[in-house]
Each structure stands twice: as C-alpha cells, then as structure tokens.
Amino acid sequence: MNSRTFTCIICPNGCEIQVSYEGDKIHEINGNKCKKGLQYVEQELTDPRRTIASSVRIKGAELPLCSVRLTKPIPKKDIFSVMEKINQADLTAPVHIGDVVIKNVCGLDSDVIVTKDMERLQ
C-alpha cells in the first residue's frame, strides 16, 4: 500500500488530501472538502490532466497577442506538444471569446479557443 498527499487544484480551497492507495485503487482518503477532491485524486493516479492557457499572434488588433486556452484538460505529458501547435497559430482581428483557434488539438479532444474579444484596429 502507498500513501501520498495531494494538493487539489480544482478550486482555490486547495485541499490537502491524504490518500492511501494501491495501483489506481484508493483505500482511504482524507482532507478533501468535497467529492471533486476524490475525482481529482482518482484522475491524478490514473491519468493526470491539465488545461493550459497561452497566447497566439494576432494581426490587425491593438495588441500583437491574443489570449487562448483549452476547452478540456489534456494529459500532462502532452502539454508541450500542444504548446508547439499554439506557437504556430496565427489570428487576424476581429476575434471573440470562444472562437476556435485549433480544433481537437493534437487529437486530444480539446480545442484551443480565444479568451479575449479583440476588435480590428481602424
């Protein structure tokens, strides 16, 4: 049996969760204020995932960059391959929150979307 302490990242509470587990089976869990904590630990033990945010070059807007994020968490190990795709993308103003920049990025079932309204500069 293994034991480990997790810091839940789901909400700002940041619960410190003590877990004893074997493989991906949890025997005992303490410290989580809600059931999201259990889900988080289960996910961390089997397939840790994160959403990431970054920015993409944009032409014709007031600023040279437009902020973006993923719609769904992706496996942690794929973060830097996704960043490479984000680094290659280009946008042209106007763009709006929710516009899809890269659909199904790296085949991970998550989209890169715009998170800032940016109008075209006259």
Partner: protein, 485 residues
C-alpha cells in the same frame, strides 16, 4: 567616418557638456565623444545634486574658487537652461563637544574663503530652520542649493547641441595620436575621429586620457558612495539638506538631502575603492544609512519609504609622488599644443562645471584667436512637465496636443506627449533610462510597474527598433531576448 573637427571633447558628462556649451559661443566645429549611451551615466548622474557653497572644498584653491563662482551665478544658469533648482541653504550639524569644535574650525575656514552668509547656530535655531532636523550645533550655509544633476548635464548638452555641437555616443577612446599635420587622431571602440584640439573631460577615466595626451600621470583613488532614494512622503518633512560634521579628511559622510522633485536622498556612504569601478549596493552600507540617516532626520528614514538605491563614484585622483588628493587640474602645456587636460574634477564638479568650462576657454584663447558665434543662444528649454502646470495650463496643453491627455507614468504624472519628446531628444539618446532622466517616468514609487511597458513600446514604434535592441541604459543591457511568439 573621418571628419575634421576643430575641437573634440572627450567625455560628455556635466564638465564635457559645459565645456562644449561654452566653446559653442565661438565659431568652432565641435564634437563630444562619450563612452556611454547618454550624458549622465557616470558621475554626473550619480551624485547628491547639491549646489555647493565652497565651505567643504578644503584647502584646494581652484576647487574653492570655481565652486564659489558657480554657486553665485547659478540662479541665472538655472533660468537660462531650464534646470530645476532651489536655493535651499544647508545645515552642517554636530552633536557633542568634539563635533562642535570641528564645526567651529570649519566655520572659520568658511569665513576665510568668503562663503557668503554663514552662521553658527544652536539647537533652537536648527529647529526653527528645519523642525525635523536634529543636532546641537550647526553651521547654517544659506548659499547652498539643490538642483537636478542629470537634468543639468542634459541641459548643458542640449544647449551645446542646439548651438551646433555634435554628440557621438558609444565612443570609448582607445588611443590618441598626433598626426604630422598637427591634428589629433582619436581612435574609439567604434570609430576614428580627427580634431585640431582635444579637451580631456573624461571624469572617472580622465587620468587615462591624461596619460594618452602626455600630461601628468595620476593614480585614481576613487571613492564609492551609496545612496537610498526615499518616497516623496518623506520629502514633505524636509526643506533643507542636513550634513554631519566632516571627518578628518574633510569628507562628509551620509547626509540627508531633499531633491528638487520632492524626494529625499540618504547618503552617500563613503568607501575608498582605488581604481575600481563598482556600482553595487551592499547590505552593510544600506544598514549604515538607516542608522546614520535616522540620527540626522529622525522618524522619516524608514524602510517603507525606500524607492531605489544608486551608487556614485567620486573621481578623485592622487599625485603619484605625494599620494595626496589633487586639486582641480585645468592644464595646458606648451609641449602639448592644442590640448586642455582636466583631472581631479570630483565634487563639487556639478557646481563648478561652468566656471571650469570658462577656464578651459581661456586656455584655448591663449593659443588661438576665436571668432564669436553670432548664432549662439544661451537659452535651452526643457520638456514642459505636465505635472507642474496649473489646471488651466494643463487644459491648454491638451488642447494643443492631445498626447498630454494620456498619462503614461502615473506616479510622476508624466504624459505621452512628454515621453514622445524625450524619445526624440536632440542628442539622439534612445535608452529606457534616457527617457527616464528626461521625463521622470519610472522614477516614482512603482518604479515603472505601470509605464515601462509603454516606454518600451514607444521606443519600438517611434524609433522603429526591434524589441530585442531596446536597451535599459548601456550596451549589453538588453531588456528582452526577443518575441514570445
């Protein structure tokens, strides 16, 4: 890029620029070769900003003479060159019998040197002059004043440039030779220059140029001084510089000086560093400033008022034989024609800059007749400070130029219009600190947290610079490694 100048001035600090300005009264083709990327990066921009009275110049005669002369004329100079200045007076305070005796001796010396208006006063009168000062005895020196040192250097340089002087930056001099035609060939890290005259105004490095020209050999015995800048919140409590009684060698350790902009300077701490160049701050000296500062200006030398620190280096040199600090040296030599050598120009160099420059002109006139420059204009106008204007004047400025309606630096209330003028300064300085020295942007308590991004964008756009070529203050001081994307 070879071009024949009548005069090449080596060093564009306050002395070189004063010389340039005074020589531009004559029909001469003049250039200033400056090692740095601006005129106030060396000692000229790193000092207390005090208009000295002459009382602290010891038994150096020329130092005292130039200081008294520069002090007396400064109201007019400040007016002509649009330099922030206030004749604040100064207190040199002492605690206890020993310091009292020291002050009395200094007072006698001041009377002998004819420092105007000085008086010995007691604790009561100290409090009357500055309720927040402390001390048992003091010399009150009414003729002392405070000015903005880097603005003064810039103003002299800009006035020189208006009158036709060429400034060349990034030109550290590596060698000087006299050609068969009698002209000086000056090699710099970047280029070669030819001039009939050379004037050595190289400040901290003047001893090197002195040797290159064949004037005397001097040994640098530099003194490093650390300062802290306090918030304007502390400035409200101080109207007059407060100096401690001088040490045996005449140096005044850590003093408290209000600035013309409303801040307070604590320092300089003094440390002999020989021939080193060391601008770093040390914990030991920071702690020392807290203790000594609190002695002179109780309650207001607080950590929460710290805005920034800086370090200056006094360019003292000693005579290789006597090993004594030398007086101001303004030298010409019949065997070294067409050259004027300035060495040992340390404090009060700021106060003495124009008197020194006039003595340089005299040296030139001894060897050559010069025709006056009929177009010479002694008046230089600085960038209008929006923050200092009345509401009516502010409204008028915005009406003239809407860029006055955009605040870039909120701490010091500096507008886009001022930043733009600074970016397009007549000397062609393009560093971030160049804008800072010309506008006060980034000098407030947030230290550029709000405006620095705007300044760098302005340099990028107005001067068509790539982000990675934007420099903080000197070569190699790159701000960015490139683009994110």
């Amino acid at each position: 890029m070879e071009k024949l100048y009548d005069v090449a001035i080596i060093g564009g600090g306050v002395i070189g620029s004063a010389v340039a300005r005074e020589l531009s009264r004559y029909q001469l083709k003049i250039c200033v070769l400056e090692k740095e990327l601006d005129v106030c990066n060396g000692a000229s921009g790193r000092n207390t900003g005090l208009l000295h009275s002459g009382i602290l110049s010891g038994d150096h005669k020329l130092r005292t003479e130039c200081c008294l002369e520069g002090n007396a004329e400064f109201d007019q100079v400040a007016e002509e060159l649009d330099v922030p200045f206030r004749r604040s007076g100064k207190l040199i305070v002492g605690f206890g019998e020993e310091e009292k005796l020291c002050l009395e001796k200094l007072y006698e010396h001041g009377l002998q040197c004819k420092v105007p208006g000085i008086r010995m006063i007691g604790a009561d009168e100290i409090k009357k002059i500055e309720p927040n000062a402390d001390g048992e005895t003091a010399i009150y020196v009414p003729s002392a004043g405070i000015l903005c040192p880097y603005t003064y250097a810039i103003a002299l340089a800009e006035n020189a440039a208006q009158n036709g002087v060429h400034y060349h930056f990034d030109q550290e001099v590596t060698g000087i030779e006299k050609g068969a035609d009698g002209n000086y060939k000056i090699s710099t890290v970047k280029s070669h220059w030819t001039a009939r005259w050379v004037i050595n105004c190289a400040g901290l490095f003047a001893y090197r140029i002195s040797s290159m020209l064949g004037f005397g050999t001097y040994i640098p015995q530099r003194v490093k001084g650390e300062y802290e800048i306090l918030d304007k919140k502390a400035g409200k409590f101080l109207s007059i510089p407060i100096y401690p009684a001088p040490s045996e060698n005449g140096d005044c350790d850590i003093h408290i000086t209000p600035t013309v902009d409303g801040n307070v300077l604590v320092g300089p701490t003094l440390k002999e560093i020989g021939d080193e160049i060391d601008y770093s701050a040390t914990q030991e000296k920071i702690d020392e400033m807290m203790i000594q500062g609190a002695r002179l200006f109780p309650k207001h030398v607080k950590r929460e008022y710290f805005i920034r620190n800086y370090t200056g280096i006094f360019p003292y040199v000693v005579d290789p034989v006597t090993m004594q600090r030398v007086d101001f040296q303004i030298q010409s030599d019949p065997h070294i024609s067409h050259a004027v050598n300035l060495v040992g120009i340390s404090t009060p160099g700021l106060t003495s800059a124009l008197p020194i420059a006039r003595r340089v002109v005299v040296k030139v006139l001894e060897q050559e007749d010069l025709l006056p420059n009929p177009a010479f204009n002694p008046i230089r106008k600085g960038i209008i400070r929006f923050a200092d204007q009345t509401d009516e004047e502010k409204a008028r400025l915005i009406g003239e130029d809407p860029d006055y309606g955009e605040i870039y630096c909120r701490c010091e209330c500096v507008t886009k219009a001022e930043i733009k003028q600074a970016v397009h300064n007549i000397l062609g300085v393009s560093t971030v600190s160049g804008i800072k020295y010309r506008t006060r942007a980034t000098m407030g308590r947030c230290q550029g947290g709000y405006c620095e991004t705007r300044l760098t964008s302005m340099i990028e756009q107005e001067l068509h610079r790539d982000a990675k070529d934007i420099l903080l203050n000197q070569n190699g001081a790159y701000m960015f490694v490139g683009k994110v994307k």
